[in-house]
């Protein structure tokens, strides 16, 4: 009764192969978009924006990016933090060198710069596979963070070694800098998230996405049926790094405003994004969002409960948070190695048959 495809007739090939073939899903998607664009900006306050919504949107982009590389193309990467740093520093250099450039163009250009760095570090993936590759991507993480710390040109010779975002506006609203309002920042991130999720969805179900999945499932077999491993792996690295670079640029320019590279883009961030896609689901667009939402919300929730309600010391709460994250990751993997997205798929399947299971 709840979730039916009966009566939902498809009259054309396009209708049949759309992203949300069921009416219920489609209307749900439109409703969420409408709420996100038309309701949330008017009710949002600074706390919700900075603690929950903006980080959620930014981490969604990052986990979409990593999911393309790891979930769809099967190349395990631990260099996410380093690539986010590239995005952040690229956007900083662009913002300070070209003050008149539109912030949207800056963010997209930062993504493009990160994509080229990603391709560079993706080159060894043709020779190195599996865990050796995962460890090799750590080289990117440590080297890039060190690089941005070491050469003063990257942070414009500022004494503190920090970079801070100057004020830039989009359509007359300030989106970066100290005085930018919460709704403007939120909407700016939201537009990018919707745009990039749409791109990711359509890339992954097209020819490119299928070649990624072929490489993931078995690279030698894929090569034999005519998938070019060089092109496929490098496009995965490029697209993934583009997403991660955009996320890094937003993380720096819109969310934090000022960053110190070792602290903001350390290896912990690489693991955080990896956890998002594990918990959410490898190889699933929806999973990227679920994972990001989960790992953004959970610390806020735990902190509110333990520090706010029970009055426990902050360091104790931090330890319990570690235990909880670790436990949840193990639990997800034991119960459902394909993440929450798979649970959702199973639930939908059951709902379609409910209340008659056969």
């Amino acid at each position: 009764m709840l979730y039916r495809e009966a009566g939902d007739f498809k009259k054309s090939y396009a209708e049949d192969s759309q992203t949300f073939p069921l009416k219920l899903d489609r209307y749900g998607y439109y409703a969420i978009l409408a709420i996100a664009f038309l309701v949330v900006p008017f009710v949002i306050n600074d706390y919700w924006a900075s603690a929950v919504l903006i980080p959620f949107l930014i981490w969604s982009i990052a986990s979409l990016g990593l999911n393309i590389l790891t979930g769809y193309c099967g190349q395990l990467s631990l260099g996410t933090g380093g690539f986010m740093a590239v995005g952040a520093y690229a956007s900083y250099k662009l913002m300070t060198s070209f003050p008149d450039l539109n912030i949207m163009i800056i963010v997209l250009l930062s993504g493009a710069i990160t994509a080229s760095v990603g391709v560079l570090f993706g080159l060894p993936s043709l020779r190195i596979k599996g865990f050796y590759l995962a460890v090799a991507t750590l080289a990117a993480q440590f080297f890039l963070v060190w690089l941005f710390n070491k050469f003063e040109w990257f942070y414009n010779y500022s004494a503190s070694g920090q970079i801070s975002a100057p004020t830039r506006s989009m359509l007359g609203f300030e989106v970066t800098g100290a005085t930018a309002s919460a709704p403007a920042k939120y909407l700016f991130c939201l537009v990018l998230v919707v745009l990039l999720a749409w791109v990711a969805r359509n890339l992954t179900r097209g020819r490119i996405g299928r070649s990624w999945m072929a490489i993931r499932d078995m690279d030698i077999a894929a090569e034999i049926i005519g998938v070019n491993p060089l092109k496929t792996k490098l496009t995965a690295f490029a697209v993934s790094s583009f997403f991660i670079g955009v996320a890094g640029a937003l993380f720096f320019a819109v969310y934090l405003g000022a960053v110190e590279v070792g602290e903001a883009f350390g290896i912990q961030k690489s693991f955080l994004v990896l956890f998002m896609i594990i918990i959410g689901g490898l190889g699933s667009i929806l999973g990227s969002f679920i994972g990001a939402a989960f790992l953004v919300l959970m610390p806020v929730l735990l902190k509110n409960i333990m520090v706010g309600m029970l009055g426990w010391p902050i360091d104790l709460a931090a330890h319990i948070e570690l235990v909880t994250i670790g436990f949840l990751i193990m639990l997800t993997l034991v119960l459902e190695p394909h993440g929450v997205a798979q649970l959702w798929r199973v639930t939908k399947q059951k709902l379609r048959l409910w209340p008659f299971p056969h």
């Binding site: 060190w146 956890f275 235990v323």
Partner: protein
């Protein structure tokens, strides 16, 4: 000999010693990877946990006192006794064996036949969990290892090298002890795996899980044994590193130092872990020495420092491009 060359040699020898310390961590990785195909990211955290437990038991700390105090409003922190070192070590080994059993019982058993990437991520989760539990149990303040481990400059080497070259090398006794222990561990492990029945079973499991099962080797008990040995090695590594830099959170980060060692030496080779550690240790010290020296600055126009963070990884990466299975790893054979 010129001073610069002498300093360089000193840096290289110290690097060699540090490399052996990396190998101590890497050894645990190799064991688990060989016997179960699991890439155990939690090895560094196990070292931290082992060292924390040892210190905690020895000084008679109450486990979870921080949490108990927060929940019940009490103010307990220590029992009134102190445990002698030998008993504390034995108890800690007991805890590590219990831990190995629990990992097998509650985590690995459910993940048999999953893809390696899933198992790897499970160990990352385990690492986070253990780190949190370790901090909850014993508190996150920096602790000192209270064992009679020799430390400080080795006078003999200092005076000997002074007589030879007119410049005394600074080599820490702790590093020498660690090197001896590492050599001892490698020999012991090799003998164990070559000549004992359990060792034979371990090698059988490493070769082929299913074939081992079919001749009656219990996979699950083998895993418990392997994780227990890895826990013991982690404890040794934790004590040595703890004596060097204090038992604290950053100890778990030695995993990140051991990874390039593993890549270089190959994931499946015990001697590879030692030799890889030495190459990385010497390489990073000498590289740092060269790029931060003044004559490098004169020649290139800039100097670099703090390269130790990434040098090992970049070295291992470049190396792997030419030999994807590491120095001593099993040859990767791909079939469709």
């Amino acid at each position: 000999m010129s001073d610069q060359l002498l300093y360089g040699i000193e840096a290289a020898i110290n690097g060699l010693m540090t490399g052996v310390m990396y190998s101590l961590v890497a050894l645990g990785f190799v064991l688990i990877f060989k016997a179960s195909g699991i890439f155990n990211y939690a090895q560094g955290v196990m070292a931290l946990f082992g060292a924390l437990t040892l210190v905690g038991i020895q000084s008679g700390q109450v486990p979870f006192s921080h949490l108990i105090n927060a929940v019940f409003g009490t103010k307990i922190h220590h029992f009134s006794w102190e445990v002698p070192a030998v008993a504390a070590i034995l108890l800690t080994i007991g805890v590590m064996i219990l831990f190995a059993w629990m990992v097998e019982r509650f985590l690995l058993k459910h993940l048999v036949n999953q893809e390696p990437i899933i198992l790897f991520m499970a160990t990352i989760g385990l690492a986070y969990f253990m780190e949190g539990v370790g901090d909850l149990m014993w508190g996150s303040d920096i602790k000192k290892i209270d064992l009679p481990i020799p430390q400080g400059i080795n006078e003999t080497i200092d005076s000997l090298t002074y007589d030879w070259f007119g410049y005394g090398f600074y080599i820490d006794n702790l590093d020498i002890t660690a090197a001896i222990i590492a050599v001892f561990l490698v020999v012991a492990l090799t003998i164990f795996s070559q000549y004992s029945t359990t060792g034979r079973a371990l090698r059988a499991v490493a070769d082929d899980h299913q074939a081992a099962l079919s001749v009656g080797i219990s996979l699950r008990s083998i895993w418990v044994i392997v994780w227990s040995i890895a826990g013991f090695i982690a404890l040794v590594a934790g004590v040595m590193w703890g004596a060097k830099s204090g038992v604290q959170f950053s100890l778990s980060l030695i995993t990140l130092k051991a990874l390039p060692v593993l890549m270089l030496g190959g994931f499946t080779s015990i001697p590879g872990a030692i030799i890889g550690g030495m190459i990385i240790g010497v390489g990073e010290k000498v590289f740092e020495f060269v790029v931060s020296s003044s004559w490098f600055g004169d020649a290139m126009g800039f100097t670099m420092n703090a390269t130790e963070n990434w040098f090992a990884y970049v070295l291992a990466l470049l190396f792997l491009v030419f030999r994807p299975q590491g120095l001593f790893g099993d040859k990767i054979i791909e079939r469709v």
